[in-house]
Symmetry: C2
Subunit: 298 residues, 2 copies
């Protein structure tokens, strides 16, 4: 493995540590449960699960798996037989309060013994209720992080997130998007610059979510708001199990099921043909779940 | 379309009517909501949804869609350009009481203008708690129905159900199986015999489920039983969205989403790394969720 990979793995581990520590500091009196696991073919991970007073269910996972690349995966990537390393941090947090959004982040790095390497990842937000000023704050934080590295990054990765986090069978986006990127690569000389970008993305996670928590965690809510939250969580399940390539890939290649499915909500519901009242907050939210919204101007 | 198809469609419609009527008679004071829908390319359906005192959420759907076969589907079936008819009844019932099992039935018929036709379908049972004598009753009813038509049917279709209703990423069956068959076809002279078998399967549905309801609907249960029910429903969601070919096919080919996803439970939950107590009913259930159990001898 390359010298870069050692540094990247070490950053991902400390990113996981930092985020877990900060979540424990915000949601006091609760702590992460850690499960360390090893992969038969090489490498392993640290799955960390949280159940608190603000976060109803969350996972902050680190993994670094390596070894001979399974033939199926090599074929899907158009690569010859090789040794690979895949490492990253994956986070999904489901809050109690329906006015606090669900957040997801993934940052990852991949390299092979045949000279290929790339980064991937993103952060996206799934509010049960879309709040314009929160959406604007969220996207402007991502926009700034991107702009520090390349002026094309935000528009490109924002559009990519719109396309990726799309629940095709519902004709709606999962939430208000964010940024998404994959196979981010370049000349050898660019590897550490791209790593600096990915670090910056990773380091934005807590400042963003802490602000969204503090703005909304004390908003009062009713049973109707919770019913709506459970329905929106149902859509989250639909996206993750039907469309998310990462989840499908993991389940299909004998990944660690409990770590992969930590993304699923504590409680979700399905009702037939849900209708929303005209002019309601629920209707406003639904009408926002589409591609191409310029949230910076919201 | 063939003369047979008219008769088959008419049977499926009356099967839907009969089953709905019987459910309304059992779960008194509640009635089905019906949505009639049309498919752009031809045909349509009658989606019927139920919310009662015994059945918490259920769907009993009929459809008969026809027209030019989408190229994607023709390719997947290895067929040239053609006109097709696909008709059937699909049922999923989620009961309130955790001791009443979830039941699923599908019976369907397919024919094309290029001379191909076949039947498919099955009935399978997903108990939240496996009760041996119920499992035996369920399988013996299916066994009898199969034996009236062909001595190979039950063993063959029972094994097929074990293989089909398998949640690979959990290494467990969805429930206690039942029967499953697809592309059931033969010489032209056999079409009506196979139809007679499919009719027999369809007509077993209510006698089976009525008995299972009457045995268990008044069993008292606790919050712990309901928690387990929600977790098992979570697995049901995982099977349907990750592995069920019918669901994937429907969502992928612009099927009517609300009709397809009527199969999802009213309320489901996910907890990280659920453990069951040694010797508990939950542990007994989990240990039964495997292929190859001879339920006739349970």
């Amino acid at each position: 493995m390359s010298p870069a990979s050692t540094e990247i793995i070490s950053f991902f581990k400390s990113l996981q540590d930092d985020i877990c520590q900060q979540i424990e500091a915000i949601d006091q009196g609760h702590s992460f449960r850690e499960d360390k696991w090893e992969r038969e073919g090489g490498g392993g991970g640290r799955t960390r699960i949280f159940k608190g007073g603000i976060i109803e269910k969350g996972g902050v996972n680190f993994s670094a798996v390596s070894g001979a690349m399974p033939a199926k995966i090599a074929a899907s990537l158009d690569l010859p037989e090789n040794e690979f390393l895949a490492t990253g941090v994956s986070i999904v947090l489901h809050p109690h309060n329906p006015f606090v959004p669900i957040i997801h982040m993934n940052v990852r790095y991949f390299e092979t013994s045949v000279g290929k390497w790339w980064f991937g990842g993103g952060i996206d937000l799934t509010p049960h209720y879309v709040i314009d000023r929160d959406a604007q704050f969220f996207h402007s934080m991502l926009n700034s992080a991107c702009d520090r590295h390349h002026s094309n990054f935000y528009p490109k990765f924002k559009t990519w997130a719109d396309d990726y986090f799309f629940v095709k069978h519902r004709d709606e986006t999962r939430g208000i998007g964010g940024i998404f990127f994959d196979q981010l690569k370049g000349e050898e000389s660019e590897r550490m610059d791209l790593f600096a970008f990915v670090k910056d993305v990773g380091n934005q996670f807590m400042p963003i979510y802490q602000e969204l928590i503090s703005r909304n965690k004390d908003t009062s809510f009713t049973e109707d708001h919770q019913r709506w939250q459970r329905l929106r969580r149902g859509r989250y399940v639909e996206f993750n199990l039907v469309w998310d390539r990462g989840t499908k890939f993991g389940l299909d290649t004998n990944g660690r099921t409990e770590s992969i499915l930590m993304s699923l909500p504590p409680l979700a519901s399905w009702e037939y043909d849900v209708q929303v009242e005209k002019g309601s907050e629920e209707e406003r939210t639904l009408s926002s779940l589409k591609k191409g919204v310029d949230w910076l101007k919201a």
